[in-house]
Every structure is written in C-alpha cells, then in structure tokens.
C-alpha cells in the first residue's frame, strides 16, 4: 500500500512539515490517526491489562495498567475451565471443512455463469442470489429441522453443511473470471484441455487474490459464529467450537464479574487469529485491493 503513494508524499518530500497550511492539515491528520487508532485499541489494551493483574484487584485500585503486580494466574485458570484445545480443533476442522468445499462449488458455478451460455442461465443465477438476500443464519427454525432429518444433528457436519454453497462466492468468482481473457481459454482448448482442466489450469491460478480475499471473509465469519453452533451441537463440549467455549466461560464467570479470568480466556481465543493477521497483514490488504471485493 505504501507504493500507492498519494500526491501528499511528494509534497512532504519537497517541503519541511512545519511550513504551509497543507502540511498543517497533514499533521492534524497524523494526530487524528493516532488518536482514533488508540481509541479503537483501548478496550483491547484494557482487556490485556486486567487479564494480567491479580484476580481480586479491581482496576480502580492501584496502577490502572499493572495493578500491584503482573501475573499469569488468570490465563492458567481460564485455560483449565474448558477443553480449549478441543474447541480449537473443532473450529479449525469446521473452517477448513467449509472453505475447501466452498472453493470447489464457487469455482465451478462461477465459471459456468461467467463463460458458458445455456438456457435458464439468468433465472438460475437469480435463484442462487436469493441466498445473498436471505442469509442462512436467520432460517434457524427450519434448518435445524433439516439438519435433524439428515441425521447430522450434534455433529461437526451440522456446523459445515449449510455453508457449503455460497452465492457471494459464486458472484465474486463470476466477476473475476469474466476479466480473464478468453484467448487463454481457447489456447488451452486447442491443446485438448477439457472444462475441468481449463478451470484448474487457466482460471484458478489467475484468480488467487480473489480466493485469498474470499477466504479471509469466510474464515472470519465461520470462526466467529456462535448462534448456529449453540443450537445444533449439544455434547460433548469437545465437539463445539471456540465461540461456544467462550460463551460458556462468560456464563460461568458472570456472577462474580471475574474480569481477569474472562479476559484471559478471551485473549486465548483471539490470539491465534490476531497473530496470523499481523504476519500476513500486507498480503491480506493487497489481496483485497486486487480482488473484485471492492
């Protein structure tokens, strides 16, 4: 993103910052950026602070950040209250299980709608797009029924199946594939490639940024979901995702308002994703910029 320098960068390089009204604006914008960003980070910082202080010290006593001393006791306690490693495993299985199937279904349908002509194309596209207007999440009552009838209630399949098809993804891939020159496909056809080979060797490799952006959106949606897992999984706790574990932790600690304990648990859950993002931050944002997601 830095390579997309705005015209301002040029000015900053040419004249010292302290002179000129333009530069005063620029400094004001810098200050605003820092202030807003810190404001946004504030709850997170406070959550870490309270997780690290002794359990019996409310934040109104002593140093607001450090309390009387720093301790990892809250993390230890939070870790022992739930089978976190199993919750984590379930969340990973669900995310991988949803995404891998989605990538196949959206690629196939996206290609058909982008490049093939067939009777009923528009009608079928609109039928699929209904899913974009009516998110699966609100049709809980009937979908629970369906999941029971399919015999997968209280299994990890129940957490994955409703999301295997994605109208959003189909639309995204359709748009991305349309921008790929037809000549490339025709050249591959001349070499004797069939439909699946064309998709696999021509369209997919040229659409990686769109897949990355789609994956980011979908992974965070499934990783963060609570309502559906809460309803379609019961026991054992090991088969339920992280969000459910976090919800249980909240219910369990609510009464005593043991914030340190609760925040430590919350940090345990969000840490993997945050670290992952910090490592890939630039690539994620570039993928967004390069994909049709804008």
């Amino acid at each position: 993103m830095n390579k997309i320098g705005t015209r301002r960068r040029v000015e900053v390089e040419m004249t010292p910052r302290s002179v000129g009204s333009r530069n005063r604006w620029s400094v004001a914008a810098d200050v605003l950026t820092v202030v807003m960003s810190m404001l946004w980070l504030f709850p997170f910082i406070m959550a870490i602070a309270v997780a690290l202080r002794p359990q019996r010290e409310p934040i109104s006593t002593g140093n607001i950040f450090f309390g009387s001393h720093l301790t990892l006791a809250n993390f230890e306690r939070a870790w022992n209250t739930a089978p976190w490693e199993w919750h984590f495993l379930t969340s990973v299985i669900v995310v991988v299980g949803v995404l891998s199937v989605q990538l196949v279904t959206i690629t196939m349908a996206g290609y058909a709608f982008a490049r093939l002509k067939f009777p009923g194309r528009t009608l079928l596209l609109y039928i699929i797009l209904l899913q974009l207007m009516i998110p699966t999440g609100i049709l809980i009552v009937q979908n629970v029924q369906t999941i029971r009838e399919l015999g997968v209630f209280n299994t990890r399949w129940a957490l994955m199946m409703p999301y295997w098809g994605s109208a959003f993804g189909v639309l995204l891939m359709r748009q991305t594939f349309r921008e790929i020159p037809r000549d490339l496909e025709e050249a591959a056809r001349m070499d004797g490639a069939n439909v699946l080979q064309v998709i696999r060797h021509v369209y997919v490799p040229l659409s990686i940024p769109t897949y990355t952006a789609f994956a980011l959106v979908m992974v965070s949606a499934r990783w963060n979901e609570l309502l559906w897992p809460l309803i379609v999984t019961r026991n054992p706790e090991e088969g339920r995702p992280l969000t459910v574990g976090l919800n249980q932790l909240y219910s369990a600690t609510e009464a005593g308002a043991q914030w340190g304990n609760l925040m430590a648990g919350t940090m345990l859950v969000i840490f993997p994703l945050v670290v992952l993002f910090m490592i890939f931050q630039r690539r994620f944002i570039e993928s967004f910029a390069a994909s049709g997601l804008r």
Binding site: N2, T6, P43, P58, I134, P135, V141, Q142, W164, G165
Partner: protein
C-alpha cells in the same frame, strides 16, 4: 475431441458419437452449478417456503397415545392470525414485538449512518504515508478478527457498573458513571457503539481497496488544476466511491439485522426489551413448540425487512459487472 470427429469422418456409421457429444456438452453448465443449486435449495429456498407455510399455521397440541408416547398434533391453518397477534398489544408476544422491531430498525440505521462515514474516514487516514502506519492500520482493523462473542465479553468489562473500565475512567475525572446496559434509554446506543467498534474495520478495508484502485493520474490531473484536498475529496473521490458505498450499505445493514452474539453476552435483550433485537428475540422464543407459528411469522418479517434493504444489492452488483 478432435480424434472422435476424425473417426466419424472415416466411419460414417459412428455418427452417433459426435451427436451425443453436444448433449453432454450442453449438460456441462448444469453439472457445474448443480452442487451450489442443491445446497441453496436445501438450506435457503426450501426453508423459506416452509417458514412461510408454518407462519400461517398454529402448531397442533401434542397428545399421548395409549402407550404414553408423544404424538405431535396436526397444525391448523390460521391465515394471518400469527402476524396480527404480533402487533396486538393484548397478546403476550404482541406486547413486546413492536418494540423489538423498532429497535432493530433503529440499530441497523444507526450502524450504517455512523459506521460507514467513519469507515471511509479511517480509510482516508491510513491511505497516506505515515510513520508507524502498520500499527495504526492494525488498530483500526484488528476488531474484525475478534469473534463477536469475544468482542462482547470485552465490552461487558468496559460497560460494567462499578468494576468496568468506562465508569472507572469517568470516575477518575469526577464524572458519575452510567449504567450503560441497564439504563433503558442508553442500552441501544451502547449496543450500536459495540457494533460500530466491531465492524468499522471490515468496511474500512473495502474503502481502502477502492481508494487504492483509483487510477493515480486522475489525482495528478486534479493536483495540476490546483484542487485542494477537500475539493478533490468532494468532487472526485466521493463520486468514485459511490458504488462501494452502496454495496457497503447493503452488506452492513444485512449484518446488523442478524445481530445476535453481542446480546447474548451483554444484556440478553434487557432491560424490558429496550435492548432487544429481532433475531435474538426469535432465538429466545425457540424453546417452546407452541410458539412456533409466531416464531415463523417473525422470521418472515425479518426476511421481508432484509429483502427491502437488499433488493438493491443485485442492482449494484449487476450494474458493476455490466460495465466490464
């Protein structure tokens, strides 16, 4: 495929082969979309028709047969009675539903009206060269990575009455604290605040991508014409972002309509439904099977609201792809 055609040229009696090929080829598009179509049918279209049907029926009373087994009763058709009951102030759900409905509409509107301009502001701020940019960008974006339930837990701690962060900080300045989640006047604003804090980073990314995809020479031309920053912003940047904004209005309102997680951790719809939203209300009433007619009617109303807000989604998306 070439070989079969050559073969058919040589032996005219195998003309069947090239004839069957187009048939298979004509099936290809349908085979490619079949998985998506089947899934959309199973988890969207079928449940929608079932919901509409069930919303016009009263669930039958379950009885016990001679062996003491539970036998579900036959539902009776009641037309729109379930819907009218939801707006009837003497009905046990009708007393609460209109409040929940207005809350939902207010919550959604406030999220969009405050959240999107803020997202654009953040995108403009970090779309400039600056020292420590990575950190500030992270500050705006990291909330996207938090599970909603985790974000809600953090805010439960922020909002807590005596032990919470906000009231402690206010207290340090001698300002008396508020009951952020217990005060019926305040609670909906607290929920909007949490939602904006959680979602703005996500929408910011879309604006940022749009800003970075605008051709630079347009700005250089504006620069040469002597346009100031705000003039350029108003006359050049905003019109270029119109489509992104329209898309985000739809996406953010769809998200807001489905808000559930944070209510579960923050206030469970309390106090007195002042802090309740439609999908959470539906969730709260799932337990009793005699309520199913009403629950389905509420779901249909929620679908209706979503349709009203999202019909333009097609226009936006389709309009975009036609240009290319």
């Amino acid at each position: 495929m070439d070989t079969s055609e050559i073969a058919s040229d040589a032996k005219p009696e195998t003309v069947v082969v090239p004839m069957s090929k187009p048939l298979l080829q004509r099936l290809v598009p349908y085979l490619l979309i079949a998985p998506t179509l089947i899934l959309v049918f199973t988890f969207t279209i079928w449940p929608v028709t079932q919901t509409i049907q069930a919303s016009m029926h009263e669930p039958g009373r379950a009885t016990r047969d001679d062996a003491g087994r539970r036998v579900p009763g036959e539902p009776t058709f009641v037309g729109v009675d379930n819907y009218t009951a939801l707006f009837d102030s003497t009905h046990f759900l009708g007393r609460r539903f209109p409040r929940v409905l207005t809350n939902t509409i207010f919550f959604t509107t406030a999220t969009v009206v405050v959240g999107l301009p803020l997202a654009l502001g953040f995108a403009l701020l970090i779309n400039r060269p600056m020292r420590g940019l990575g950190l500030w960008r992270f500050g705006f974006f990291y909330t996207v990575l938090l599970p909603l339930i985790g974000a809600a837990n953090i805010w439960a701690f922020m909002f807590a009455n005596t032990t919470g962060v906000i009231n402690t900080v206010l207290g340090a300045f001698g300002i008396s604290g508020q009951d952020w989640l217990g005060n019926p006047q305040l609670v909906i604003f607290s929920l909007v605040l949490v939602n904006i804090w959680k979602q703005t980073g996500f929408f910011m990314i879309f604006y940022l991508a749009a800003l970075q995809n605008t051709p630079r020479d347009i700005y250089e031309a504006a620069e040469l014409d002597g346009g100031g920053y705000f003039t350029t912003l108003y006359y050049l940047t905003l019109p270029l972002l119109r489509r992104t904004s329209l898309f985000l209005v739809i996406v953010s309102s769809t998200y807001a309509f489905q808000t559930v997680e944070q209510l579960e951790a923050l206030n469970r719809g309390q106090p007195a439904d002042r802090g309740n939203l439609l999908l959470y209300f539906i969730f709260q009433n799932l337990g009793s099977s005699s309520n199913m007619g009403y629950v389905n009617a509420m779901t249909v109303i929620l679908i209706g609201l979503l349709l009203v807000f999202t019909v333009s989604n097609f226009i936006v998306f389709e309009g975009r792809s036609e240009d290319e």
